[in-house]
Symmetry: C3
């Protein structure tokens, strides 16, 4: 049978899990995923159940909830999660749903509260989630059983991960042991938010992630290219003659960075464990081009103050990737967190947050426009690429093509996804 | 299994009726309905079949079609019903669909016609629905078999109810016997429309009804509270000390109203039969606060002319609730009808109509802005509550919570709904 | 069971093909189609598979891609087809999808290219579809296997038809033999595009076609009526007395046209083979009213230059209908092509293109507003009729009605559709 004749998903009476397994089985190693995994609303519902309601998801930073009572909300598919710093300064996560008749408890976004008061019937919860006040309860109704439903939450060096499952995967702590030494010197837990931008991409969340996992398309990112060495992502044997000098420059910058990290006791070596665990991850410190300090046209720092304990600016970029939905760039002057969050089978929210040292002053130590320019432009370009791809994979004429040598992390993401989905179906 | 793991409705291959029964069985007495009944498009289709295409539905008043040829249309889900006063002054209802190739016959809204002429091929029907003219019919085509399809219609004291079923439930006449004496003195059949407002609420129709069936949320209705006694809905033992004086005032007002009704021969006692019949209903005359005449800031009448045969203004509010979709407030100076009509699984139209005496003159006897102010504000507030609730019940984190002592009529509505749905599945 | 009780399509767990066959079986001869065939998204998916991905579809004219590198795109449901004149002047069709990760290759519409370069990773294809350039391919990846997927394309007298099937129906060539002598003298292959207008109709594509296939509704087309004899479509015995003189005028005009065609060697006789072949068609030359030259208020030509080899203006209208999606009017001064293209179960694109002689100069030999006035107005009126009908057939109160004597070609279209769908289910 040719792809042309594949039955349209929603006219398909077979169980969604069967269609999921057939799509996963149909994938050829080294090739993109079959279309149904990007376009079938029923399979998207399985993504929500098996990835977004089962795995650890990056949702934001402690810097977004600095004071007691501060909260943020994040939507994992249809599930709204309320992340709140309670009166004891502990960050907690709850379902953003009133226990009475289900009204949404707080409006989407960021805010600050004393108690959590439902707008409908004024049921009132403490920041610990306990039901404090509800008038005219029926005899026999026990308020102690009507506290907000909790959601598992972990902090890793100032980054917040939640898991909607009753029994979260247990390997986040082990991943934290590895990545914490890389991140700790940046002291994100005491950083402050300089800017946050939400962008909606017209594509499936996996296309957003696949796009992030390669720089094979980086010719389409003129602003970003200022910070990347021209031979970034090329193996030595792939470097064309005309780029030989650039490559030497890159190798020297890498040697300098490694030497300096050794002196300063900063971990830098690549650890890549993207596929074979629930919290697949990859961490590495790499040099940046130009002055080598930050994502700016000339490579110089965009913030005058160093983040946390760092002694100097020229420390390149600490890159962290976590499955299924995040990537991070930590420089000596600022850090950027990226979270991809599915809105529907073909729409994805990308939330980008710029963090600077708590003592850095806007207008004095940094300019927000300058600070955010490179990644606002790059995100907008990526949104176009993702939309082009969603349109194409929804076409019956689409056949998954072969990945290039520059797309190893895309293959890793897709493999991680396929393994997790199979595991969940088998549970 | 936790709610988190419930399969997404539209990935669910089981027959919709099976899912319906499972959802109804999952409901705990005294608790809100399971989410699927508010969010699953397939179960909404069953609501359309078992409620909206089977039960008697309030659609408007005779005052909306005062002259021969006047019509209104109303959509019951995908079914457009044409309510028309024919040339013999009789109000009839038809399917708003041409018998030729199905073109919509009249545009939505209100209007007036001589004959009903289809805009497509000019097939022409009389106000009695008979096909009067259709050119070039094939030999053997019998125009007598091509009249408009009729829809069952009944008038109750000037209120119009339709039923799309071929065999409508037979108890509307018995309900009419009970409620007619309450409504008759207001003479709605000879009233006139002062205003009509359509509002779309972003929620399932049952959430709109549940919201209407309780005043537990009335703190959110500042304008409406002027007309309600502060202890409205509280049992004697629930009245807090600080409201003791208000409660005495309420009890006195009630005694006065009862006495006056007895003198005037106006029925006033509560009749509550909301659950155990197809046309569940509840009727009662109750005092209003302040001057006790109408829904105004000081309780005084908003219209200078009395409705129908009524001798005086201070007669409080005659409240009528009918399942599945209507509620009514009849004061001595004006009456208000409310119809909830489903647009989709998560959108509902609320049509509010203000009726005044036929001889009342706009600008002289009443001001439309003043007349409609309280309920325009209250409806807008309710629309917000319904939208908050729809967002929350669509969240996998939603668990149906317990009703309070103030939500008895919500329980009654939900029970009526569950009973009707089970009956229809069993037919 | 009454229509009221028919289960809503998408709550229906039966396979879509079974529902399709039941709907086709439920159709009474001489009557419109059952509602599900116009409203059920699953059955629309079967339309896409069995009609739009199997049959020959009219997509445009060679005049739209006059030069090497010129292209147009057309969407057949979710399938975007790229029609391109290659470097050897041959018109080809490809899937508009990159072979790498599926990005849409060219933007929708018309344009011109040297090579086809994917905007995502810069994979580059020649106008022959071959992959010319793709960096860092994995060892063992063969670029020769990664050319653009081709789509079958045929030209008939300057009109372009494509078929998405791997094994296109074989009768287009035989149809071409019949219609080519009718069209050839108009020389469309060397015409030029004077105007093109895309209009979206809010209805199923079959309603668009059914509307085109009859003039029973032409009272609704005042501009068009100028060009049609008042007795158009009436059999002799149906002509009312008051139109007798008009009918005589029509018969005379027809005799004149036939005589002139015989002298000029122009084929004119009706050939009607709409039902019993894949490329159902109907062709005929007919007189126009007034001056008999063109679709203008007075019947005079709208373009000063004759199309192709034609010797004079008064040659009426050469009408060509092809199943499933096109109709054509060829006059001596200009030709008009119409393509209906489904956007969704209830939205259809109608693309209208006006062709004039290559040497005709805009502003000198014709005025675009004048040239397009009649059919822009007529298309807008038809869009209203189609929207009215879609609204009505989606109403559970819809019952397919009887066709009149004036709707023989509607019956033919519907029969063609039913036969093709049954054939495909049986394959």
């Amino acid at each position: 049978m040719t792809l042309i004749d594949r039955p349209p998903a929603h006219a398909d009476a077979r169980p969604a899990t069967q269609r999921l397994l057939e799509a996963l089985d149909a994938r050829r190693p080294g090739h993109a995923l079959p279309a149904a995994l990007y376009t079938d609303p029923d399979l998207h519902e399985l993504d929500l159940r098996f990835i977004w309601q089962r795995q650890w998801i990056f949702v934001g930073s402690v810097a977004e909830v600095p004071e007691a009572g501060d909260y943020l909300t994040v939507d994992l598919g249809p599930s709204s999660v309320l992340v709140l710093r309670d009166d004891d300064e502990q960050v907690r996560a709850f379902r953003n749903v009133c226990r009475h008749r289900g009204a949404r408890l707080v409006e989407p976004g960021h805010g600050s509260v004393g108690n959590l008061v439902c707008g409908y019937h004024r049921w009132t919860y403490g920041t610990d989630g306990a039901l404090r006040h509800a008038p005219q309860l029926m005899p026999g109704t026990d308020p102690a059983c009507l506290g907000l439903r909790t959601v598992a939450l972990r902090e890793v060096a100032g980054l917040l991960f939640v898991c909607l499952a009753a029994d979260p995967p247990d390997d986040l702590d082990r991943v934290a042991e590895v990545v914490d030494p890389y991140l700790a010197p940046h002291r994100l837990s005491s950083a402050k938010v300089a800017a946050q931008v939400d962008l909606v991409e017209d594509g499936n969340w996996k296309l957003t992630m696949e796009n992030n996992r390669e720089c094979y398309h980086c010719d389409g990112h003129p602003e970003l290219l200022c910070s990347l060495f021209p031979t970034w992502g090329l193996a030595a044997h792939q470097v064309p003659e005309r780029l030989r000098a650039d490559h030497e420059r890159y190798l020297q910058a890498e040697r300098d960075l490694v030497a300096r990290c050794e002196e300063l006791g900063l971990p830098h070596a690549l650890v890549d464990d993207l596929v074979h665990r629930s919290v697949g991850f990859r961490v590495q410190r790499e040099p940046l081009d130009g002055a080598g300090e930050s994502f700016s046209p000339d490579g110089r720092a965009l913030v005058r103050r160093l983040l946390g304990d760092l002694p100097e600016f020229r420390l390149g970029r600490l890159g962290l990737h976590t499955q299924p939905n995040a990537w991070f760039h930590l420089q000596a002057d600022h850090a950027i967190t990226f979270a991809a969050l599915p809105l529907s089978v073909d729409r994805t929210l990308v939330r980008t947050t710029w963090l600077v040292d708590a003592d850095a002053e806007e207008g004095v130590d940094y300019d927000v426009e300058e600070l955010t320019a490179t990644w606002r432009a790059t995100n907008a370009q990526d949104a176009d690429f993702v939309a082009l791809t969603q349109a194409g994979v929804a076409d019956p004429g689409y056949e998954p093509g072969p990945y290039s040598e520059a797309e190893g992390q895309v293959e890793a993401f897709v493999s991680w996804y396929a393994d997790r989905m199979r595991e969940e179906v088998a549970r």
